[in-house]
Amino acid sequence: MYRVGVTVGQILVFLLFFAIWEGIVDFFHIKPVILPPPSRIAEVMWEQRALLLTNTWPTFVAISLGFIYAVVTGFVIAVGIAYSRIVRELTYPFLVTAQILPKIAFAPLFLIWFGFGLTPKIVIAALIAFFPVVINTAKGLSSVDTELLQYMDSLGASGWEKFTKISLPWAMPYFFAALKISITLAIVGAVVGEFVAAGEGLGYIINASNISLDTELMFAAIVAMSLLGIVLFLVIVAAERLFVNGVEENGGVQATM
């Protein structure tokens, strides 16, 4: 009963937000070209559904591929960091510096370095999404209870068995917390890529609608983008429920960005 109440409340917060927005636009007679009301955005989304759907696909591909690259390479490097002191000590300052670097600022150059279309989008998405995976997974793997490992040793377990049976499950909550951050960053990266180097995708629509002052379409594309992001986020939450035990009680691990 409490859960249902919370869900209703959560929906009400959204409705209240849109109602206030609609009210402000209406009260101050704000022109739709400056700020369209939510009702108008909903209409435009329906009118332009074909355009929005066809452009969601390239954005989805860019986000997914960028995310997969980020997760795979991030995971491998995290294992290296967790199991090799020398790798950890040598690479950590570099990784932290690279994480802080505002990679988006390089976006216009990616067009020159990586060409046109899908590649620059994937590269930007992967670069931005990569670091949380490395840092959080490494943190998870290296925080394994040493007594558990010693116990496994006493049972004569191999290194591989210790890794798959103890360390990996131990690190899973950290890993999934990182994935949730990574996916949102991959979305930002893909959109930035589409701002500078694409002739299709939702990011392109957002940017291109600017020259015909079509603010309604711009908002419609932003909403479509957000919906895509929410769906991808929920997929990861669902995977987390599947692979990590007891996630519902503690709400998962706090991740480092």
Partner: protein, 326 residues
């Protein structure tokens, strides 16, 4: 109150020797939002400020860089800026979308869009010589829409060349031979390439029949109603900057470099004379600097509708005026 008298004596002295002129008391503060970051194409504006043309008209102007003409049109539309300097197409589209904006002077009369390429690409006749080439198109700029129009009007076969998105990156893409031809403003991209030592050529869209008014002064309808005198004085000072620059381009260049010391001076020197050329047209010969005609605006509107940048037509007579030029 700058001139509040401390005592009777000093106030008498001040008035008698004219330290406290009425214009200094009543300077109107206005904000001018440009189309883009400061460049040599704005040199005459910097000159007008430096020479005190605005002060002479009782105006204290703050010149702000822009984020593209569409943003400038919106900012003038919601009165964040009193005046704007933006391309005529965005003024017209903005007005059609309900923004209360009016163009009061069309400064750049000609369309600066062009095919830009290294001279070695050897493009003479666009109807045949573009074939086999890779073209960089700026899809998020109106130059991309103009290219679509040219493609249609010249009946080019799109299977015979390759088009790639190249927003904001024409110069490095041409320089590194990743594209053969770019479609952009020649006074920006072509001259930037030239300044970096490339042998570059361009074919202007104006010559291919895409005649479009370009950068213009705009203001809000409400300001025209409230204070037509201010609009008139502003335009007078603004256009004086341009006519003075046409006669003394070196002074305009100096004023720009003085205000923007970190600028690429080779580029600025190449760019300014080309920009000044664009202020000239038959309309200007007939009506003076900055003037435009209904026929010119209607032709612009027809082209924008054809390019699908405008959905519905408006009465162009409400979007421009020559009242504040003379």
């Amino acid at each position: 109150m700058v001139c509040l008298p401390k005592n009777l004596l000093t106030s008498i002295v001040a008035t008698s020797i004219g330290l406290c002129s009425t214009s200094a008391l009543a300077l109107d503060k206005v904000k001018l939002r440009l189309d883009w970051v400061f460049g040599a194409e704005h040199a005459p504006i910097f000159l007008a400020v430096e020479k005190g043309f605005f002060k002479d008209e009782g105006i204290d102007v703050t010149v702000l860089p822009g984020e593209g003409s569409s943003v400038t049109a919106k900012l003038v539309g919601n009165r964040d800026a009193d005046f704007g300097y933006a391309t005529a197409d965005q003024v017209l589209i903005g007005a059609a979308r309900g923004l209360p904006i009016v163009a009061t002077a069309v400064v750049l009369q000609q369309n600066p869009t062009a095919f830009i390429f290294k001279t070695s690409a050897n493009i003479k006749d666009v109807k045949t010589d573009l074939y086999g080439k890779t073209l960089g198109i700026q899809l998020k700029s109106n130059t991309g829409r103009q290219w679509e129009a040219v493609k249609k009007s010249l009946k080019l076969d799109p299977t015979k060349f390759k088009e790639v998105p190249a927003d904001g990156a024409l110069v490095p893409l041409i320089a590194s031979n990743r594209i053969d031809v770019g479609v952009g403003f020649y006074f920006n991209d072509a001259l930037k390439l030239k300044a970096s030592g490339e042998d570059v050529s361009w074919i202007s869209f104006e010559g291919l029949g895409v005649k479009m008014y370009s950068t213009s002064v705009l203001t809000n309808e409400a300001l025209i109603k409230e204070n037509p005198d201010l609009v008139k004085r502003f335009n007078k000072a603004f256009l004086k900057g341009w006519s003075y620059s046409l006669e003394h381009p070196k002074e305009a260049y100096d004023a720009f470099v003085k205000a923007n010391p970190s600028t690429d001076k080779v580029y600025a020197e190449l760019k300014l004379p080309e920009v000044l050329k664009l202020t000239q047209s038959d309309d200007v010969k007939a009506g003076g600097l900055g003037s435009s005609t209904k026929a010119g605006w209607e032709s612009l509107q027809d082209q924008l509708v054809g390019m699908e940048m405008m959905k519905s037509k408006v009465d162009v007579g409400t979007v421009f005026t020559n009242d504040f030029i003379k």
